[in-house]
């Protein structure tokens, strides 16, 4: 996703009820996170599960959060998602950078990147893959779900190689 779109994406969520942006950085969403820093709304955690825990505590206080991470970190978080987020039905939006989407991405991303859609499916976690055209509609979709107390995921493809 382009730099300008990432910034618009952040501001759209920020202006529509998402108060906290917590997670572990991923280069795929660098500009999204940079925009959050400008607004002083980012908490960087040491691991993804920790971010989910903090977001859960804020959600219990009626303050909605987005938790950002790379798909490798999403894989780290599976048990936290099942035994905290889904078990208690705690709403939050996951923003997941999808490494390994391109077949020639770095080797450490290949296997986990390949099974990323299957992991979401196995968890029954509803998700949408973002692009330049559908991001705003996808945000509306995600905001509606969390207001109905349901967690969901937005996926940002890593569509470039550095």
């Amino acid at each position: 996703m382009k730099e300008l779109t990432q910034k618009q994406f952040f501001n759209f969520l920020f202006n529509n009820g998402i108060e906290n942006f917590i997670g572990v950085p991923d280069s795929t969403m660098k500009h999204f996170i940079d925009e959050g820093f400008k607004k002083n709304k980012i908490i960087i955690t040491t691991r993804e599960e920790e971010a989910i825990g903090i977001a859960a505590g804020m959600s219990l206080s009626k303050s909605y959060s987005l938790v950002f991470m790379q798909n490798a970190g999403f894989a780290n978080s599976l048990s936290t998602i099942t035994s905290l987020v889904q078990l208690y039905q705690i709403p939050m939006i996951f923003l997941i950078g999808w490494r390994g989407f391109l077949k020639n991405d770095a080797p450490e991303h290949t296997k986990i990147g390949k099974i990323q859609p299957k992991l979401l499916q196995a968890l029954s976690l509803q998700s949408k893959i973002l692009n330049e055209k559908n991001w705003k509609a996808s945000c509306h979709w995600a905001l509606k779900l969390i207001k109905g107390q349901k967690p969901c995921a937005l996926i940002l493809k890593r569509d470039f190689i550095d």
Partner: protein, 184 residues
């Protein structure tokens, strides 16, 4: 002092302020000793009680938020101390019931008798207190009223005691009543 005795004393002092309690025997003891709407029993997601407590503390600055943690739980999520240390919630009291063992899984040892958790917490900007007796535990709650958080109280406890019953409440009910209690 065993864990259940320590929890009984702590709950009496904390009264109706929010408590986020770690999974395993800690939540089970709390449930049995004094079930309240303001208790959030984290029955899964081991290690994350302090992270959940941090989220609640940052959003409820007029309340004091208590975390009931275990040594096994906090060792699993030491990164949480770092994030608490940089966000510096003044209203977070992190109580670690430390028996140097994973008692809920059969009493396997943890490392808290070989490393000093207090030093780790201090370097992460916590104010740290350690208590070993019931009398010290009773008194510490008075003392921390004058201290700005994040605060850690390490309560040295002995292994053993009767195992408390499981928490037989729906997780969504635990959540809903905890959320209602925060509004008051």
């Amino acid at each position: 002092m065993i864990r259940k005795e320590a929890i009984t004393i702590a709950v009496e002092k904390i009264n109706n302020q929010p408590i986020v309690s770690a999974n395993g025997f800690i939540s089970r003891d709390l449930f049995e000793v004094c079930d309240k709407n303001s208790n959030f029993y984290m029955i899964g997601s081991m290690g994350l009680a302090s992270s959940i407590g941090l989220g609640v503390a940052l959003k409820n600055t007029k309340k004091t938020i208590f975390v009931f943690d275990g040594d096994g739980n906090i060792l699993m999520n030491l990164g949480s101390l770092i994030t608490i240390g940089i966000t510096k919630p003044k209203n977070l009291v992190h109580i670690v019931f430390d028996n140097s063992s994973h008692e809920s899984t059969g009493g396997q040892p943890t490392a808290t008798n070989k490393i000093q958790l207090s030093k780790i917490a201090k370097s992460a900007n916590y104010k740290v207190f350690q208590v070993k007796t019931k009398n010290q535990l009773v008194k510490i709650f008075q003392k921390i009223k004058l201290v700005s958080g994040p605060i850690m109280i390490i309560v040295k406890i002995e292994k053993g005691g009767i195992i408390s019953k499981r928490i037989n409440m729906e997780p969504t009910k635990i959540k809903n009543r905890f959320m209602d209690s925060l509004k008051k």
